[in-house]
């Protein structure tokens, strides 16, 4: 038996609300999601200056539970989830045996024997299948909660003051990459201080059936603070300014964590084997053949995904993401280049419509929030 391919995209549980708010809806990773409401620039600026509300219900939530859940995940991922305290999270990746990245993830330790792995929507099935396979032989079970879970994110400097009055949790006690269980607008939620924008903020994992109630009440409370709903378009420009990789752009099956500048995520020092260890140890020892860098364009033009990067001799790499940075007012990009060109200050060029446009290698991230 072959598995039938999904025919129609899955509507987010909040689809009607997005339509009522005037959102432009697109199909993304098998889901119908809002790409923008008032406009990407306005939404982007609201998140940097006040707050934005995001529907991320398309993300994959995979709960791994059992007395050997931590050990199973340590063998399945490049990080060491048993080292997490309950109520803490870390950024992780799941790799293939050859070290190629299957997905980048956040792993939350919800209880001693219960972890939640959050995967990109586009890879949720790949990750779910790989985890199921890698859990075999461990006292741990996988529960794919992706369809049953709604995810609403509040991001921006005013997130705390907007969300604080709506919950019984002490939000200030939840540190960055912390997670706590409590009620938000009377709805049971996992409240995580994580995000993908470079701002302070919280992600609210709730039952999909309650997501609408949470969305409505948080937006109503946030409006007077300048909060607006934010679509996937601004989510992309926000994460790019923050130097965060996007699977499918900076990360893919043919890229290993070291090439992406994420070698620190790989815990080669942890006990026991894990999928990809042998290949990744070799990369760590031998070095990489290309490296992810930030580029700032020094002439007029916008570098886009797929554009060639040139040095004096010719092609040296490729742009993975690029946009006009709404916050910085200049064209920024991430690109893979030869390791010899990865040093900030190196002058390269991006080929835009056949012509070289000067670009300087700059440190990532492009944007760091004021403290």
């Amino acid at each position: 038996m072959t598995e039938p391919e999904p025919i129609a995209p899955t509507p987010t549980p909040l689809l009607e609300r997005h339509e009522a708010l005037g959102a432009k809806i697109v199909e993304y990773a098998g889901w119908l999601m809002p790409i923008q409401y008032a406009g990407i620039l306005e939404e982007h600026r609201a998140v940097r200056s006040a707050a934005g509300l995001f529907d991320l219900s398309h993300m994959g939530e995979l709960v791994v539970e059992g007395p050997e859940a931590g050990a199973a995940l340590a063998g399945a991922l490049v990080t060491d989830p048993p080292s997490l305290a309950v109520g803490r999270a870390h950024y992780s990746m799941i790799c293939a045996p050859d070290g190629g990245i299957l997905d980048d993830l956040i792993v939350y330790r919800l209880a001693d024997n219960r972890f939640m792995v959050v995967a990109n929507a586009s890879n949720a099935k790949v990750v779910s299948d790989a985890l199921a396979e890698r859990l075999v032989g461990f006292k741990a079970v996988l529960d794919d909660r992706s369809l049953a879970t709604g995810l609403v994110a509040v991001q921006g400097p005013r997130s705390l003051e907007i969300l604080g009055p709506l919950t019984d949790l002490d939000l200030e006690a939840i540190r960055y990459y912390g997670v706590a269980e409590g009620d938000v607008v009377g709805v049971h939620a996992q409240v995580a201080r994580t995000g993908y924008t470079g701002e302070d903020g919280f992600e609210l994992f709730v039952d999909a059936k309650s997501a609408g109630e949470v969305w409505d009440r948080v937006l109503e409370a946030g409006r007077p603070h300048g909060m607006v709903p934010v679509g996937l378009g601004a989510r992309d420009t926000l994460r790019l300014e923050a130097g965060m990789p996007l699977y499918g752009n900076e990360l893919d099956r043919r890229t290993n964590p070291y090439q992406a500048g994420l070698g620190r995520v790989v815990k080669l020092g942890k006990a026991g084997d894990f999928v990809g260890r042998t290949a990744l140890e070799k990369v760590a020892k031998d070095g990489v053949d290309r490296r992810l860098v930030g580029l700032a364009l020094r002439e007029r033009g916008i570098a886009r995904h797929g554009y060639p990067v040139l040095d004096r001799a010719g092609p040296t790499g490729v742009v993975t993401s690029g946009t006009m940075s709404p916050t910085l007012g200049e064209a920024i990009a991430m690109a893979y280049v030869a390791p010899a060109h990865a040093e900030p200050g190196t002058m390269l060029a991006v080929e835009i419509r056949g012509a070289p446009v000067a670009a300087e290698v700059v440190p990532l991230p492009f944007y760091t929030r004021p403290t």
């Binding site: 406009g39 990407i40 620039l41 378009g233 007029r300 033009g301 916008i302 946009t323 006009m324 064209a331």
Partner: protein, 126 residues
């Protein structure tokens, strides 16, 4: 509503004839579809354009779109203000967001373009 006095292309450019010259831009519909416009690239004055030739590029935050010449002609002037304020293409596409001024090669080409009602039909429901 699109301005009645202009002519239009299926690629969402507009053209306004002024003597033996014409002014070219993109329509409000096109600007709305693109979203926030952050970059406009236009040709140098003096360049000759064939009808339907690519004459430049407009980029929104997310997308890159080619611009097509509605008619043949020689570029006599471009809107240099768009380099610094590309967003006026969103806010005033038929006015301050104009892009090119061309000397017409063949006025009859203008007559072959869509009129306002035909263009409105094209974009209705879109």
């Amino acid at each position: 509503m699109v301005p009645a006095e202009l002519r239009y292309t299926k690629d969402h450019e507009w053209i306004r004839v002024e003597g033996d010259e014409a002014v070219v831009g993109i329509t409000q519909y096109a600007a709305d579809q693109l979203g926030d416009i952050v970059f406009v690239e236009l040709p140098d004055a003096g360049r000759s354009l064939d009808q339907h030739a690519t004459f430049g590029v407009v980029e929104s935050v997310k997308a890159v779109s080619d611009l097509f010449a509605p008619v043949a002609g020689e570029v006599t002037e471009t809107n240099g203000d768009l380099a610094g304020t590309p967003e006026v293409v969103n806010t005033d596409p038929y006015g301050a967001g104009w892009m090119l001024r061309v000397r017409l090669t063949d006025r009859a080409q203008v007559e072959g373009l869509l009129d306002a009602s035909a263009y409105e039909q094209l974009t209705a429901g879109g």
